[in-house]
Amino acid sequence: MRPTELRGRRWLLAAPILALLFGSSFLAARNLLADPPLLRAAGALAAWNAAPGRPPLAAWSEVHAALLRSAERLPSNPITHELLGLVSLSRADDARHMRESVGHFQAALRLRPHSAHTWAALAQAQYLLGDTGAAFELALVRAAKLGPAEPGVQRVAADYGLATWQHLSAEARAAVERLIAAGVRRDPAEMLQIAHRRGRLGVACRHLRGASRPLDSKVSQLCQGTEALR
């Protein structure tokens, strides 16, 4: 049998299985995402994020309660737990909800351990809780390793990685720096802005040569004084 014929037969066998897998995944996703509280929560998060100040308590409580009911109804949906984590995190003025957010992100990660965004969100929650120990570092490293090309993950890991830079292990520093390098290649101004705010320009500036975009004069000016461009 020719190799092309063999390949064709393999495809004949694999195609229905793949179709079944895609179909069931699609149906599962559609059913889960059709859950109105999830969409409402997502919309509310977007609105709160755009507005100054903290979310109004009444609206927040409503969304939070609806998500808790969804989690009870369908505990195996990682998106519900992730949204619960984000919603809880938006009330940083309440210690109870801050701690809750960590639990929700951990629950989401048990269901979907390869989500770089969730690891990044967990690192953020732990940082805001003042817990920058081993668990924080693990979350940061996992996020950096799983989502090196994700802009959101790059921002979080760079921000909190540079904030705790002097306390990070060599492995964690390397992971964060690889992600910063990727971030600099994607959008040098954004990554330098974070590094500048964190007082760690040097870490970002030494990757400027790999930037894909033409360098703005302001950006290169910012790195002038650092070791990287000397």
Binding site: A92, A121, G130, L222
Partner: protein, 249 residues
């Protein structure tokens, strides 16, 4: 699948919104400084952290922190201080907003930003039972056990204490005591008579001149992010001048 895309977009948006509006950024921190939001746990404050309305900042012994708000307002806290951002609202498009910083204990130098320049009546500081309304840009405040000392480097402030309001001009100071009495005069004279605790707080503020100058050279983008454009010092900040070093009256 549009719904899935919408959810993912929202989650990504959350991460994109890491830099919030209406905030102050820590531009310098030394020793042990922490922040508490509401009844949340206190966490270590690091350079680049953002603080918001309702947050309370603490500095321990031999520690300090310098904040730069979105409108360019600077607040520097010396050791053993506690300050609450009671109110901070800033609308970048119009340059309007309001500032109310409450110093519970310790020392603070405050240099007003755009809000203070455009609407000085919307900027006020509290220290113990005193309220300081600003008519200028650069003021140093220290409070300990209900006693309050204020000196003005640039502009003027209205000082309200025990039901009375007086105007203090640049180069002047006031020492208000817990018993309700106060003394007004040249800043140097006032500072020569204050308690060791208050003198220590004022001395700590003087040591922050460089950090304050560095904060002033960072221009604000109005959205909580330090702008990449380097700029010269803002009003009231000079390399040699501390908030309490003005002489004459």
């Amino acid at each position: 699948m549009n719904k899935a895309s919408a959810l993912i977009a929202v989650i990504a948006l959350f991460f994109a919104g890491l830099v919030w509006a209406n905030t102050a950024v820590v531009t310098a921190a030394s020793g042990t400084a922490s922040v508490q939001t509401g009844n949340g746990p206190a966490r270590t404050l690091r350079v680049g952290d953002q603080v918001r309305q309702g947050d309370t900042l603490f500095t321990a012994r031999a520690s300090s922190v310098v904040l730069k708000f979105d409108d360019g307002q600077i607040a520097a806290l010396t050791a053993n201080s506690r300050m609450t951002i009671t109110a901070y609202r800033y609308e970048p498009s119009s340059g309007s907003g309001s500032v109310l910083l409450s110093l519970v204990t310790g020392g603070m130098r405050a240099i007003t930003g755009l809000i203070g320049r455009r609407s000085p009546e919307n900027v006020a500081y509290r220290a113990a039972t005193a309220t300081i309304g600003i008519r200028g840009t650069d003021v140093t405040i220290a409070t300990d056990g209900g006693n309050v000392v204020v000196t003005v480097t640039e502009g003027a402030v209205s000082f309200t204490f025990n039901g009375r309001t007086i105007e203090i001009q640049a180069g002047e100071g006031v020492n208000a005591r817990l018993d309700g009495t106060f003394q007004r005069g040249a800043a140097d004279e006032i500072l020569a008579r204050i308690s060791p605790e208050l003198a220590s707080a004022i001395g700590g503020i003087r040591g922050l001149d460089n950090a304050i100058r560095d904060a002033a050279t960072l221009t604000s983008a109005g959205d909580g992010r330090a702008n990449l454009t380097p700029s010269g010092p803002t009003n009231g900040v000079s390399s040699g001048g501390g908030g309490t070093t003005a002489s004459g009256s």
